[in-house]
Point group: C2
Chain length 201, copies 2
């Protein structure tokens, strides 16, 4: 059985678990408290030299890191990776967008506000995080409002899993999603899939 090293509440870990549930892949989940440095111990750094969750341990004892690379690996050959070369590249395009423009702003704002003691210490960082996070949400809104139900091809793919992770909890980072009706409709669409689980489940 595969093992997911994870931290409760992480959107990056959640998207991996969500995909595995929807694919019916059994897995063991090991909680690593990043606030206590449990991903920076010598033992953990042997699993992932970058010291991050999620980290996937395969049945043969090898490891795979980076949430979106894990999504790719697990979904390869399933309905969640488009067959068409262009659609496949578009899925990856949105996943790189997620890790470069979306997560570093939306997830970080949420982390500082929800997980750190005395979040008021980070008040000076919030305007920049919110400005850039809203830019990312606006790019998503433009895509979805243009008539697309999903991000790559015409059906749910790993790009949607990748973006859903932190978008659906963006409110916890101080982002008002009322500005983005197409994003809200897409969130409801993803959450209505059979096998859906909640981020805290």
């Amino acid at each position: 059985m595969m093992t997911v090293y994870d931290f409760t509440g992480s959107g990056n870990g959640y998207k991996v678990c969500l995909l595995m549930m929807q694919l019916g892949l059994p897995f063991k989940r090991v909680e690593c408290d990043i606030l206590k440095g449990e991903t920076r111990t010598p033992e953990f750094l042997k699993k992932n030299p970058n010291g991050r969750i999620p980290t996937l341990e395969l049945e043969d004892g090898t490891f795979l890191c980076e949430s979106d690379a894990i999504l790719w690996y697990l979904a390869r050959g399933t309905r969640f990776v488009p067959d068409d070369a262009y659609d496949q590249a578009r899925a990856l395009q949105w996943m790189f967008f997620e890790q470069y423009d979306h997560e570093p702003n939306i997830a970080v704002a949420r982390f500082l506000l929800e997980y750190m003691p005395n979040p008021e210490r980070y008040a000076d960082r919030m305007p920049g995080l919110h400005e850039r996070g809203h830019e990312a949400l606006a790019v998503m809104e433009t895509h979805l409002a243009g008539g697309c139900d999903y991000f790559a091809g015409s059906r749910l793919s790993i790009a949607d899993f990748a973006l859903y992770g932190y978008t659906h909890v963006a409110g916890e980072g101080g982002f008002d999603l009322d500005r983005y009706p197409a994003v809200q409709a897409w969130i409801a669409r993803v959450a209505s899939e059979p096998g859906h689980i909640l981020i805290t489940a």
Copy 2:
């Protein structure tokens, strides 16, 4: 013929051009001066709603964005994408690492120092960029010093193209690569490939 919208000196654009040269793919290159906002015009935003280079225009007039998704698309089915599922995912793992941990620190430090007027204005940002950039370089060094010549599988792949783009010019961002002998040897290895071009070529 495909068109690459690019900005001279961008490591993200360069890695796409480097791959296309090595694959023998003819392409037209269109310079977009990001310092003059040429990727934020209404016309450019129709090509890429995120307003970034590189953007690839395919022969049928559709567009693909995000440098590492473009690498994937162009290299799919060639020697530069590993066949093995795990090696393929490891290539993507390093590419996501590049966009999350490496580029936002190493490329940004270089951009502020080399491209912005009065770089001393950003002096307060440099220690953080250098600390996190060195952490990324140390992760690369650990991998390569462990006996790997390349980042995914046993030969040159898109993961190497992705990481080479900004690593080989990290010195321009104030990073001393003398600390990383395995990274330096890998840089020489990548640069020795037939069809290599320079970033300013």
